[in-house]
Amino acid sequence: MADIFHARIKASIADANLQSALDANAIKRIKVRQVAFESLENPQALRTRAHQVRSDVIEELDRYIDEFASHAIANGIRVHRAMDANEAIKIVLEIASQHDAKLIAKSKTMVSEEIGLNHALENHGLQVIETDLGEYIVQLRGEPPSHIITPAVHLRRQDVGKLFEEKLGLPYTEDISVMTNAARRTLRQVFLEADIGVSGVNFGVADTGTLCIVTNEGNGRMVTTLPRTHIALMGVERIVPSMNDLSLMLSLLPRSATGQKLTVYTTLTNSPRRLDDPDGSQERHVILVDNGRKAVLGTELREILYCIRCGACLNACPVFREIGGYAYVSKEGEGSSYSGPMGSVISPALFGHSEYGHLARASSLCGACKEACPVDIDLPKLLLRIRAGFGVDQARNKPKSNAPRLLKMGLGFFTMAASTPTLFAIAQKLAGIFGSIYTLFSKGDPWIRLPAFSGWGYSKDFPRPASKSFRSRHIHQINKGDSQEGIASLGNATSDSLSNPETLSPTRVDILKMFSEEVEAIGAKYYSCSPDHVLETILDLLREHGNQEILAWDDHYLPDGLLEGLRNAGIQIVYPRSDTILTSSRIKAGLTGASAAVAETGSILLLEGPGQPLTASLLPEMHIALVWKKDVYKSLSQVLEMEAVKIAPAAVLITGPSRTADIEMTLTIGVHGPGELHIICME
């Protein structure tokens, strides 16, 4: 029984490096999540709503998949359906061979880990490079990710320093920003040369066919924009009905995952690049991967399909904190892509109870996972159902518990006694006699030192049973079962009536103030000026960095005469296009015009279209975005529900400068996207 699992547990506990990394992760992640949720007005109500939304989708999954697929197809996205890992891999290989692809740039996708995509592609001679910093690190080490959100959570900076020295020729350093820069340089080349970009999907929006991907570093934007062909892998259950539901999920996912109000880049992809669009992938595919999910629909475990992969349950779990992601292995020692509480349900549900069912037993059922879950999945209940044998296999057999044999036997005897009060009393008496004799020998010490193999005796002593049980002492003293007296209605506990304080709708001034504060809080710079002073502000920024060139949007989207003014000041204006991307990639500044802004998260919305190349906001080191004050909205849902968001081939919400915390959770700015974001708000 799961001997390899036990060996992994012991190895994890004995690994001091791993222990300190896991401790740091738990302490930091739990705290930032709590702080992020404090900024929500009524997080409980949001969780309840999110649970309902996910439940509605899962109850009618087929209908939602069809709705999503038909809208995506209408938008020009090629939709594929894969029943299992092999089918999904085959589809990717076919697309790759159609385009004679050699290099594939990948942003983080757990589905690809689940189906073993990298390995399969490499076997067919393709070069696959992970571009999320954490994934890149573990790929260089030849390891799978150890956490669904922070793949390199098990490593310290020294490990990464040594790795980069060995693999990238970077002189050994413990300076995380130096390591991040080295990765930026190497991976920038990969983005530019890749034939295909592969990404995951955080949410598919059914009524628009939109693919939503959230990333912090900007690699998700790179792989969905620069390569000619983009393939998105999506678990079939990752659907939300509408943009409104998406904004609800987005208010919960980043907060739960990394403690951010919104991730730096929230991309919304509707279609491939259209004829007159300056950039973006020309061909987009989405592969809807089932791989066992629909089989779970008909089982008692279906609630696990609500999961939105935020990783909060891993961070909250005291067991994960002790053993880390790599310890969650099958009976044969095969790792699962999903670890922690959600993984201990998903792995057996998707890949079989006989292989992974034992993982569900490694939980004290403390409920910290349920408490942390943004969609309120009752994880302890699901773990218990797996222990009891409910799941896909159950359709064929009666549910059968996976309790170890000895435990089953022991509890069998206990059940026999506890189902018959007289037997129970006799057993207690026997235990009591044992207790009395034991006390004689232990010189009054009421504690028994059990051997380690008993489990309990491993690290603690066991109290001896009392020589006389409660019932045998008191059966005559306290009133024996008093059944005559009826009970009047119980005094009701004071129910906390939750009255919502009336929220006054904030004024424009408040909204702008909130926007500027949020922008500064996430490390971007905020400027407020009249259109006449925009030129001056931009020139100051460019001069400060000695920049003579700038990637810029069309005149049409910027204040009158701005580009001309820049040219007159000696700045060279470059309009980025797909076919000149190599030149564009060298330019250090970019200028764009935001269609809208979200005050509560400090985000700006950019839409792809003629005259509006999104690469201007992605490739340079410095991004200057202009936004009109009238376009600043209070909430995310107001902006996501704008018609333009649904029509544009691609849209991105940018919330601060590109960042990562993949090495020791140390915040590092400017990974793949711009490290500087200047937002100029115009009257």
């Binding site: 189902s419 690290s459 059944s483 005094g491």
Partner: protein, 242 residues
Amino acid sequence: MVKTVQLFVTCILDTIYPETGEAVVRVLQRAGMTVSFPPDQTCCGQPAFNAGLRPQARKMAIQTIRAFEPYPGPVVVPSGSCAAMIRHSYAELFFDDPDWKTRALALAARTYEFSEFLVDVLGITDLQAHWEGKITYHSSCHLLRDLGVDRQPRALLAQVRGAEFVELPQTTDCCGFGGVFSVEHPEISSEMLKRKIINIEQSDASVVVSCDAGCVTNINGGLHRLKKSPQAMHIADILDKV
């Protein structure tokens, strides 16, 4: 007004800590209650339920339901996890058995954890208890997260004369008990308990109070093995002292 309560003493208090069971009775009596002890009670079935042995758990749950059915009035349970078992998990246990589910829900509706009963139902926080020393409080998982009970035991402890209350760092972290978990995964359980013990020592309290004898046994078992001096106590044992 409530006059008589049915005590579900729990198998662990019954067999190992009968003195704590007596303390529960005395505290309830001091709160003006007549305490009745339905004689056919044994175990709520939680160990088997947590082990995944549902048929066995159902047998014990049925025994428990039958034991209390003839006796009306609130059922008081001096254990967060046993109370949670009856209140929440019985519905899960009998989800495909409407008859027993109805009977289980009827019992669930009148079942209260001990501190919850004192504070929420009786409206009592001051039991005239007296205890000299520094005490802290460990939030047991099922009590806190399944029953939402936290302010009640704290309110009771706040009224104990002579006691200096200090907060336990990371009080909501599991102590590593988890029933069968501690036997099946002693390595992990032991690490969790180590962490709890470090926090207890950091609090500098001489007594850590809990509303669950499972946590008390786990924490004390670890402390005894390490020959450390602080002690875990059931809340009834503190409230009992005058």
